[in-house]
Symmetry: C2
Amino acid sequence: MRVLVPYTAQNPKSRLDPPLSLTERQSFSLAMLCDVVDAICDAGHTPELLLSTPLDEDADGVDDRLADLPRTVDDRSLTAAVNAGLDRIGREEPELAVVMADLALATPTALQRLFAVGGDVAIAPGRGGGTNALVVRDPAFGVDYHGASYRDHRRLAETAGLAVGTVDSMRLATDVDEPTDLAEVLLHGRGRAAEWLRDAGFAVAVDGGRVGIDRS
Amino acid sequence: MRVLVPYTAQNPKSRLDPPLSLTERQSFSLAMLCDVVDAICDAGHTPELLLSTPLDEDADGVDDRLADLPRTVDDRSLTAAVNAGLDRIGREEPELAVVMADLALATPTALQRLFAVGGDVAIAPGRGGGTNALVVRDPAFGVDYHGASYRDHRRLAETAGLAVGTVDSMRLATDVDEPTDLAEVLLHGRGRAAEWLRDAGFAVAVDGGRVGIDRS
């Protein structure tokens, strides 16, 4: 199956500033993208980048594997660009998946669990009401990433008479948007994003309640 | 299998004030406890309350089902009380589970996935480094809930030469400690805790980024 991975190199992960500078956010977001691409490939599927601007193949963190991936450049909103991609369902593709590029904890097993969920639409809900990954098997379905998209996607599918399945995965529920999310990457990440954070001096900090991060 | 469910009625869920008063937190925490107990029973196992003080059987929210459960009262710290319970492993019980009382999204399926994980110790990591649920099958293992307990429990088990398994579950990773967690209950809860929040006027609020809560 083709798996669309939306990615923007323009001011990525803005809510991670602070603690990360723009250059660091660009480098860290590429590390997360690499982890997601690896997990998709290792799950036996084909990632396809959905970029807001052409990929800078000379940028630090863009290796040959990333540079060789099929890609589409679409400068419209995330919702519009993904829906343009989903238009291929029923014509060129029987099904398509969309997996966010900031799922730094994604593993092949977690993705395979999502891809094995039945239904016209299969959703991996994100923390805070988002839709972190989904599989679409019916051309009647379109996405709307604004607001509480998990709830909205369920309603849109149900209104269209489509069967919706979900996967219960902490790894797929964890998108990395805010500083507290970095602790999850340090605790559970197994790839380049976790390594990037450790190389940048980050460590898990314990100060009562849930853990946070420290930078040395 | 016996499943210990630690619960305290004394100033429960203190980080939920605001938006909840003490009386509301006591009532809401009982609703979450009921959901957890129901999920354990529906998964085919036997909940056993581990209480810091005797249960007030006349309290609003304590129904016959809860009042009839086997229970132990232990006023020591969570860690000491759970370890006293785990002392039964290898003598009275071949294995025991511990499931936190604030897992308002727990379902029988999610718990069954945890209980099916192999290893001497099976862990459901919580958001923010916690240990939300675990199964212990070796008397050499003890808990330490202070700090980043997920990481510490892995290390303790590995130091003791014990095999550790984990379950990847958003439902079991979501303990309800902070106001933003209430949005998860409203979005994904199927039991009394979600109903309690809706009856108390809470609804999901969308204001950019992740969703929050509003109260009418």
